[in-house]
Subunit: 245 residues, 2 copies
């Protein structure tokens, strides 16, 4: 909001830093509350840069679908607030976002059987190298990608879960079809990093964007691990909310 000092010679172009600031301010409600951005000249003065530099930032955000400029009228905000994704014992994607978005959808990108890496094996409680089924999915809310996830299941217990997912387009329902009527989240770790090329493509982000990475283990009602998942959330579109029971 107030004249933040931008970093020159940092490897990040000024227009990109300004674009990141504006995007973040819109997401947090600091800017664009009235649906419009201040005039370019005002922004240029605020950031102490040339008006053309502000224009580059705005052009990038137009490309991203965040802003819309109209000659002679001004620059307007297309989208506003972040979604709030709840993380609790009973975390399910569509149920958690249901009241915030009009429509939610989880799409299957790829499914395959592979042998468990050390990490996957540890989290699923099987020996490393055992066959596991991997599901790669992308979840959208109101047509905009929110997260992508890679899930692993013990192949011996969940044979056919890939087809079940293809049928129901829901992890919860696919597990149900495999005889798991209830499951709870045991633990979640959260880290943040820059989006990879895959993240940028699949979540429709721009370079330099940030993803929140969660790693979670779900267990059945007996406490046995049934799913290990690594998810990547578009940090500009979602926040994570942890509710203590």
């Amino acid at each position: 909001m107030t004249g933040a000092v931008l970093e020159r010679k940092s490897g990040v172009a000024l227009w990109r830093q300004i674009a990141d600031l504006i995007r973040s301010d819109i997401a947090t409600g600091v800017a664009g509350q009235d649906g419009r951005l201040p005039p370019e000249m005002e922004l240029a003065k605020r950031y102490s840069v040339n008006r053309h530099t502000v224009r580059s930032a705005i052009a990038a955000l137009e490309q991203e679908g965040v802003l819309r400029s109209e000659q002679g009228r001004g620059t307007f905000v297309r989208r506003r607030k972040r979604l709030s994704y709840p993380i609790a014992k009973r975390t399910r994607f569509s149920a958690g976002l249901g009241n915030q978005a009009g429509s939610t959808l989880t799409r299957l990108l790829e499914s395959m059987e592979e042998s468990a890496s050390q990490t996957v094996a540890d989290n699923l409680g099987v020996p490393a190298g055992d066959p596991v089924i991997r599901l790669d999915t992308v979840s959208e809310a109101d047509g905009l990608p929110v997260s992508r996830a890679t899930s692993w299941f013990d192949a011996s217990r969940f044979a056919g879960i890939d087809e079940a997912f293809g049928e129901h387009a829901s992890i919860t329902k696919a597990l149900s079809a495999c005889g798991v009527t209830d499951y709870v989240r045991k633990s979640t770790t959260i880290e943040a990093r820059h989006a990879s090329a895959d993240d940028i493509r699949l979540l429709r982000l721009s370079a330099g964007a940030i993803v929140l990475v969660t790693r979670a283990v779900n267990t059945d009602s007996d406490g046995n691990p049934i799913q290990y998942a690594e998810s990547r959330f578009a940090a500009d579109r979602v926040e994570l909310k942890i509710e203590s029971d």
Copy 2:
């Protein structure tokens, strides 16, 4: 690890993107397991860039204290794994990191009485504009800054908590001095964004770095809010871990 495609003309310099990749790979243990980085020529081939571009990335990470290059020998890793910061009902900084770091320390940057903003008021359950006490702190583990936090307390109930903190250098102990012997975390939201100029300075980060932002409310044993805190964690040095009870 494998040849990720970097984004050109994205406003983020290639050397910066490569530096971010290498830093992240080191933090997750993908790279530098043996304490050394592959030769510059090999990295250049992997990322499909000129050797000089890799050298710029390495230079930035040397400046940050992540790497150390020696002529004729190679490039070596100074630090390795991320700290894991637990978030649970009873979250306390030093206790949570105690077993991972040799020493932990929380320093007071500033304390002052101010009138509550709408957000602070909502979270503390007081009317907006009421006097509140704000504490700005930085926490370090093994001499490296891990997080900075801004905490607000109801001034009418916690008068003198700033002096109490100055004496004990611990929020938990300062609360205890104010008669709160136990408290639990009610809720936490997590988001991620690029570090601000202040974050970069106080957490000793480099431009383009990422911070994990948490907003949390702590309540006393009767369920009354006693503290609202906004924390910023250096995403390269820490992950957040949520344990379900």
